[in-house]
Amino acid sequence: MKSKLVHLADAAALIPNGASLTIGGSIIRRSPVALIRELIRQEKSGFTVLAYPAGFTTDLLAGAGAVDRVEAVYEGLFQFGFAYNFRRRVEAGELDIRDFSEVAMAARFRAAASGVPFMPTDALLGTGMAEHNPEQIREISCPFTGRKLHAVDAATSDFTLLHGYVADEYGNVQFPVARDADDLDPVMAKAAQRLIVTVEKIVPHSEILKTPNLTYIPHTWVEAVVEVPFGAHPLSCDGFYDEDEAHMQDYQLLMKDGRFAEYADRYIRGAVDHAEYLSAALTPARIFELSVR
């Protein structure tokens, strides 16, 4: 096995402008936020984002003007309200948005994970999503029953970016037994063309060998693995730390007024790397407050 351990900046550097990115996690939980911040720091742009429920990471990219198209089931910040940057760009007609229901979007990722070009579904019959997106949602007829169905296209992307719990240097990523499974990370991982995983902690390979049933992303699927403690901050990483409500509320106050640049100057462009971000956004005492391990 080959070590796939890289630094955050090097992982982000793999991703060119205009790439399509599947981003894991869910709204305000366990998304690869540090990696998204690094993409913005490197002034990458022109992305297409595929997500299940999109949330904070997509809003950051929208704030930075780095995303041109979004395919997802939801865009918002859950209890913290609207995804203002995202919403502003959609309302300006500047963002190509493709809405899918959860069943339909999950079917699309599953198609990609299975290597088939489409999945059949009846979830979107009669909806506005189907009406506005004949490119990706096409009517078919079941060859056995004759039932009217849609084919939805496989959700393939150039890169899949996930934040996980622990991994070894080879990229075997494991979850803790107690976790929140309200996401599609395992399916997205399997569907990935090029998979970059950030994790809270790199552990010895010998630890991984003890509990192989907890490996949900095996090393052969992974191109690069990055150790980024608090890499989902200000979001939560279940089993490690809770969401940083104060940070999120401050973010929303700024975004509501269109002050993304101010936020970015302080936390993204103004912090040369993840270590500086952590210093800017957290104190040691606050880290202990948020930790739940």
Binding site: I28, R29, Y52, P53, A72, V73, Y74, E75, G76, F78, Q79, F80, G81, F86, R87, V90, E91, A92, G93, I97, D99, F100, S101, E102, V103, A104, A106, A107, R110, T121, D122, A123, L124, L125, G126, T127, G128, M129, E131, H132, R147, K148, L149, A178, R179, D180, A181, D182, D183, L184, D185, P186, V187, S236, D238, G239, D242, E243, E245, V292
Partner: protein, 269 residues
């Protein structure tokens, strides 16, 4: 019997919803954010489901936020991630594929849904107001609401009655209710179903058996038919014999207040 002054509108909405639930039902409850949105999406549905469990539906089960049959004696005081992760529950399925399959397999009997736009045939819009490609107001998308309306046997719409919410035709169909009425829903290929009831803060509606138009069934004691119609942009069918919404019984109120929500976590605003 209690009279109208002795219960809140939320408590009335809870009992009205509980009466729609049957023994053995599997109930899908979504995620709510905070304030009134939480009360409508989670608070009232959970209270209604538990009330049904405590009365006529002991074998009813709840699916909430990827948790199947969480221990409702131990509702966490807050819903930050850590409380959800560690909340004792019967099953936390491996990823959302399982929930989606349960939906499309038709395993859910009832869901609770709300939207900024609801039309006379019970179609919902949570995606965009105005032109889809350049909307005057972009909303949140779809989530699983589309899937609820496609697959759940008896979706319940739970929302406050407002003129800008109850519109003649939604700007965008996120979730197909009875589509254009009549048999148009099944003609489009969808399974039979569609929303069964609309429970609001002022009245309860059903849908006409044939035409599938929204139909006023009962008005809460705190309101009147005129007030109800004044809060709608379209005119629903109105039965000649519109009744008063059945008030909560004293036993129901006791259960809600003492057993189900003693700390007032569910029914706050």
């Amino acid at each position: 019997m209690t009279n109208s002054s002795e219960y809140t509108i939320n408590e009335l909405m809870v009992t009205a919803a509980a009466r729609e639930l049957q023994d053995g039902d599997l109930i899908f409850i979504g995620v709510g954010t905070a304030g009134r949105a939480f009360t409508l999406a989670c608070g009232i549905p959970i209270a209604a489901a538990r009330l049904a469990q405590e009365t006529h539906a002991p074998n009813l089960s709840i699916y909430w936020n990827n948790l199947l049959s969480p221990d409702l004696e131990q509702i966490p005081p807050r819903l930050t991630q850590h409380y959800l992760t560690t909340w004792p529950t019967s099953a936390q399925l491996h990823n959302c594929s399982d929930k989606n399959d349960m939906l499309s397999r038709g395993m859910f009997d009832v869901s609770f849904d709300s939207a900024p736009q609801i039309d006379r045939f019970g179609n919902l819009n949570i995606t965009a107001i105005g032109d889809y490609k350049k909307p005057t107001r972009r909303l949140i998308g779809c989530l699983a609401q589309t899937d609820h309306f496609a697959y759940v046997r008896r979706p319940l719409i739970l929302t406050d009655l407002k003129k800008r919410t109850f519109v003649d035709k939604v700007d965008f169909i996120t979730s197909v209710g009875h589509l254009d009425g009549g048999t148009s829903r099944t003609d489009a290929g969808l399974r039979p179903g569609g929303p069964s009831r609309v429970i609001t803060d002022k009245a309860v509606f059903g849908f006409h058996e044939e035409t599938k138009e929204m139909q006023l069934l009962s008005v809460h004691a705190t309101s009147s038919t005129e007030e109800v119609l004044a809060e709608m942009s379209f005119e629903p069918l109105v039965n000649d014999d519109v009744s008063a919404t059945q008030a909560p019984s004293s036993d129901e109120l006791r259960l809600i207040r003492e057993v189900i929500d003693p700390r007032r976590i569910l029914l706050t605003t």
